[in-house]
């Protein structure tokens, strides 16, 4: 029933309004006396050099890919867990096959050094 989700919609609106009002109110009550050195990015007191939007380590990309892989696999666990009682032994065997395939990939990533940060 769509009406069951009405409170969620109201909640999203209220929560975003709360955060936005807090920010707006703070912008109105605070002083506004900018100067160039106050607005420069903080680099421990040194004059900033270069752009902050530089390239980043490939490790972060790899972590993101791993996360997507595992997250999709986790999604398969949830419906299975809910219906486990009805599926009985059939569900258990099916899931065992799934987990074994998952484990083979997991061990492969581990052996390839995918989980090592350095």
């Amino acid at each position: 029933m769509p009406i069951d989700y009405l409170p969620i919609l109201v909640m999203v609106v209220v929560v975003i309004a709360f955060a936005a009002i807090a920010l707006t109110f703070s912008a109105l009550t605070g002083p506004r006396r900018p100067n160039p050195s106050k607005l420069s990015p903080y680099e421990s007191g040194m004059p900033p050099f270069g752009s902050a939007r530089r390239r980043i380590s490939i490790k972060y990309y790899l972590t993101a890919v791993l996360f997507i892989l595992f997250d999709i696999e986790i999604i398969f666990f949830y419906p299975w867990a809910v219906l486990f009682r009805q599926l009985q032994l059939f569900g258990l065997i099916e899931m065992a096959v799934f987990v074994i395939v998952l484990l083979v990939g997991y061990v492969y990533i581990w052996k390839k050094g995918g989980f090592d940060w350095d």
Binding site: I3, D4, L6, P7, I8, V10, M11, V12, V14, V15, I16, F18, A19, A20, L23, F25, S26, A27, T29, G30, P31, R33, P34, P36, L39, S40, P41, Y42, E43, S51, A52, R53, R54, I56, Y60, T63, A64, L66, F67, F70, D71, I74, F77, Y78, A81, V82, L83, F84, R85, L92, M95, A96, V99, L103, Y106, W110, F115, D116, W117, D118
Partner: protein
């Protein structure tokens, strides 16, 4: 006693009844009347919930500072109000009268939106928590999924803050935070599967009801061996998820100033701070709901029991924060992928095998 137990449920029913009586005067179609009353009631509930959460955060900030002081042999805040209780209120006022700084060349829109994206989803996740008997803002039958899904939006906000600030420390902190939060989300979500499996439902209300028997012995924490393992994996990854010491690499003060919120001031910074405590409170309420029987307990009203359990877990988290040193980054990622993920995976299989046995002896 009965009056006290059902205090908030009765208040809700009384207000809804009064609204129905008011709406009946408008001579609307029955469906329209119901929809209007439902909308107004959800508005009331959500405003009350929001105010309650803000109060809880103020208490948490005070508690954290007092606890840190006690552990480090200091006195802590003691000037504003009795026992320094009004210190968080004074801090809030201070944040409001601070200048709002946006650094040069920052991505202005992203920089401004980031605190909202961090703080708002944390509140949304509280919508499905059963705070007491019959006290849940929204009764979703997919409560667990909702909490997991909404709770992970905050990660995007932290990356927005890191990217939008045009600061190297911010970018580094944002990248580290995202890497850590997505890594620890995998064991956290995997370990909940074991609980869902034992209950056979995604509704948080059903999970609490399933733990009602045997005077507390049916709490999932006692469902040996699945429950304790699941709880430890959940609690550790939850601490990492909310970036608290010993998992505070994303904002390690001694390395990268303040991580993603280096360039924030005033209420924008305040929202990050509040969001952090919302998230900490959230993971503790979820842990209580999933493992410690939610609001169930003898004598005292259900909502009081719920708060007692939540604060016990919060104090545990504060104790861990104050007494353990910070992880190194390679140890941190290794701990998530090489230790917690396999334990959680094995625990699911264990849960599948153990559920019929636990069911037979009546432990779940």
């Amino acid at each position: 006693m009965d009056l006290l137990n059902n205090l908030f449920v009765n208040l809700y029913d009384w207000l809804a009844g009064a609204l129905h009586a008011l709406a009946a005067g408008l001579n609307l179609v029955k469906d329209a009347e119901n929809a209007i009353v439902a909308a107004v009631m959800s508005l009331v509930v959500i405003v009350v919930l929001l105010l309650w959460l803000v109060l809880m955060v103020l208490v948490l900030i005070w508690l954290e500072r007092k606890n840190a002081a006690r552990i480090q042999d200091r006195v802590g805040p003691n000037r504003v109000g009795p026992f320094g209780l009004l210190q968080p209120v004074a801090d809030t006022i201070k944040m409001f009268i601070k200048e709002d700084i946006v650094p040069t060349n920052a991505d202005r829109l992203v920089h401004t939106l980031a605190p909202i994206v961090v703080a708002a989803p944390a509140v949304l996740a509280f919508a499905v928590i059963p705070w007491g008997k019959g006290m849940f803002p929204v009764d979703l039958n997919i409560g667990v999924l909702w909490v997991v899904a909404v709770g992970s939006i905050g990660t995007i906000g932290i990356f927005m803050a890191g990217y939008g600030s045009n600061n190297k420390y911010s970018l580094l902190g944002g990248m580290r935070a995202v890497a850590q939060m997505v890594s620890y989300e995998v064991p956290q979500v995997l370990t909940i599967v074991a609980i869902v499996l034992m209950t056979g439902s995604l509704s948080l209300n059903k999970i609490v009801d399933a733990q009602s028997g045997w005077g507390g012995m049916q709490w999932y924490i006692f469902a040996f061996p699945v429950g304790p393992i699941a709880f430890i994996v959940y609690y550790l990854s939850a601490l990492a998820e909310v970036n608290r010491t010993p998992f505070d690499i994303p904002e390690g003060e001694s390395e990268i100033v303040a991580g993603h919120h280096t360039e924030y001031s005033g209420m924008k910074w305040g929202l990050f701070y509040v969001g952090e405590y919302f998230n900490f409170f959230l993971v503790c309420t979820i842990a209580v709901t999933l493992f410690f029987g939610g609001w169930q307990g003898p004598l005292l009203p259900p909502y009081v029991w719920f708060l007692i359990k939540v604060y016990a877990l919060i104090l545990l988290g504060m104790w861990i924060r104050m007494t353990w040193p910070r992880f190194r980054v390679d140890q941190l990622m290794g701990f998530a992928w090489k230790t917690l993920v396999p334990i959680a995976l094995v625990n699911i299989i264990l849960a599948a095998l153990a559920t019929p046995i636990l069911k037979a002896i009546g432990l779940i």
